[in-house]
Amino acid sequence: MHAHLADQYQAGQSLAHQLDPRVKVVAATLLILLLNLTPAGVWPAYLLLLAVVVALVIFAEINWWLVLRRSALVLPFALAAATLIFTVPGRPIWRLPVTGWTATLPGLTRFISILLKSWLSVQVAIVLAASTRFADLVWALQALRLPALLVSTFSFM
């Protein structure tokens, strides 16, 4: 399990590390917003977004293994969306033995799209957390007009 707030930061000298934390917080939020605006099944767009995320990880000089390991965090949640494979109406593609459930193509498309969005979004957030010290993150939030009481509670955590 994660032990401490400071553990998430990966010391480094990359451009991503030196970027203004305010810019990083806003950019990460916008990128995640963009990711979530992508409609299901537009695979070229997902490929492009994957390239952007990969570029980010290279740019921030963060260990690949670390990003992959931490991004597995969203996998258990995928189960919530897995039901879509069988419940979205559409062209049947496969039948689950014993249970008699039928997987449909639109269902599978939606499921994979949700999984990709979620996995890419979490990697953006990982890059943000791994390239920004907690204190800088709190400072950035304060600069972005987060209320003072919340900021002081953060700093006591």
Partner: protein, 332 residues
């Protein structure tokens, strides 16, 4: 579908931290707006009551809950759960301060640990912060009135508050996933309610034992939360609120069999995907056995699933209600 619910309830961990990608953008934005309004209101409320000295206490409590959320306890069937802490914070500090504490906890989890998404942060704050704090607080106050002022009464009230706060948070999460078209309500709600009926017991036990410990060592801390809404007929109001919350939980569960009246129980998805391609599709022949049992099978099993969920939650709520009533009778 019933198999799927059982499978998902045994495999998935306590999935209350919604990651990005699982909520549709409109749903996420509504969550952010709601959370912003409520947190702003909480800031104003606590600004009136909170002394400078209480800010460190808030921070310490936030850090404590943050740490406690990392400790998983095993739940029957191979899942594990962890403390949410909203009810405990609300009982100690009052619901508005607890809302702020939980907002900080959930925000740090999202920002630093990617436990829960950034777009989903609005709903995650509402589910795990606002809803657990207010449910916990009012159930505690109401049950406290029923159980009496004894130490045992406090423990019982803490147990009920912890359990129900988790159930309300879980039900809300299921509704949000369904509204996003990520998981049909007839699957998500019974699955979430089922798993969290067990996890909630852990929450209740930890809340109750923390209260017992604090009541023994620092009884003055237990007064802090009580005084934060002083000046109102709080007891009567919280008893009413307890029943409102119970009814709300039952109502949410009651929606699930209603939703499965439709062939697939999936209004949102059906609307988005359209029914057209299903009827026009020539590849029906690929699966010869497909056509006949599909719809009926699914309807039957979603109704079964809904009924199971209703039974679980109704039964649990009934037991809590009975406990409370019996206490009330012996008291008065």
């Amino acid at each position: 579908m019933a198999h799927l619910i059982l499978a998902s309830s045994f495999l998935s961990p306590p999935a209350l931290h919604i990651p990005d990608g699982f909520l549709s953008l409109p749903v996420a934005i509504v969550g952010w707006l709601l959370a912003a309004v409520i947190v702003r209101w909480a800031l104003r409320r606590t600004g009136e009551h909170l002394g400078e000295r209480q800010v460190p206490l808030m921070g310490v409590l936030a850090a404590f809950i943050f740490a406690a959320q990392m400790l998983n306890f095993p739940v029957a069937g191979g899942t594990s759960g962890h403390l949410l802490g909203g009810a405990l914070a609300a009982i100690l500090m009052g619901p508005w301060t607890a809302t702020l504490i939980m907002t900080c906890v959930v925000a740090v989890q999202a920002l630093v640990f990617q436990d829960g998404g950034l777009l989903a942060l609005g709903w995650n704050t509402l589910n795990m912060g606002v809803l657990t704090a207010f449910t916990g607080y009012f159930v505690y106050r109401g049950a406290r009135r029923g159980f009496g002022a004894s130490q045992a009464g406090s423990v019982g009230a803490g147990l009920a508050a912890g359990w129900l706060s988790v159930m309300v948070g879980a039900a809300a999460t299921a509704v949000e996933l369904a509204a996003s078209g990520t998981s049909p309500l007839s699957v998500a709600l019974p699955a979430m309610a089922g798993v969290h009926a067990l996890i909630g017991i852990g929450e209740g036990l930890i809340t109750a034992s923390a209260l017992a410990l604090i009541g023994r060592s620092r009884p003055d801390l237990l007064q802090a939360g009580a005084s934060s809404t002083a000046g109102r007929p709080a007891a009567a109001r919280s008893a009413a609120a307890l029943w409102v919350v119970l009814l709300l939980a039952l109502l949410l569960v009651a929606i699930s069999p209603l939703a499965s009246d439709r062939p697939d129980g999936l209004e949102w998805v059906a609307k988005q995907e359209g029914f057209g391609d299903r009827a026009l599709d020539p590849s029906y022949e690929v699966l010869p056995d497909y056509s006949a049992p599909f719809v009926e099978n699914q309807t039957a099993s979603t109704i079964l699933a809904g009924v199971l969920g209703v039974l679980v939650v109704t039964g649990a709520a009934y037991v809590v209600g009975q406990m409370r009533r019996r206490r009330e009778r012996t008291q008065g």
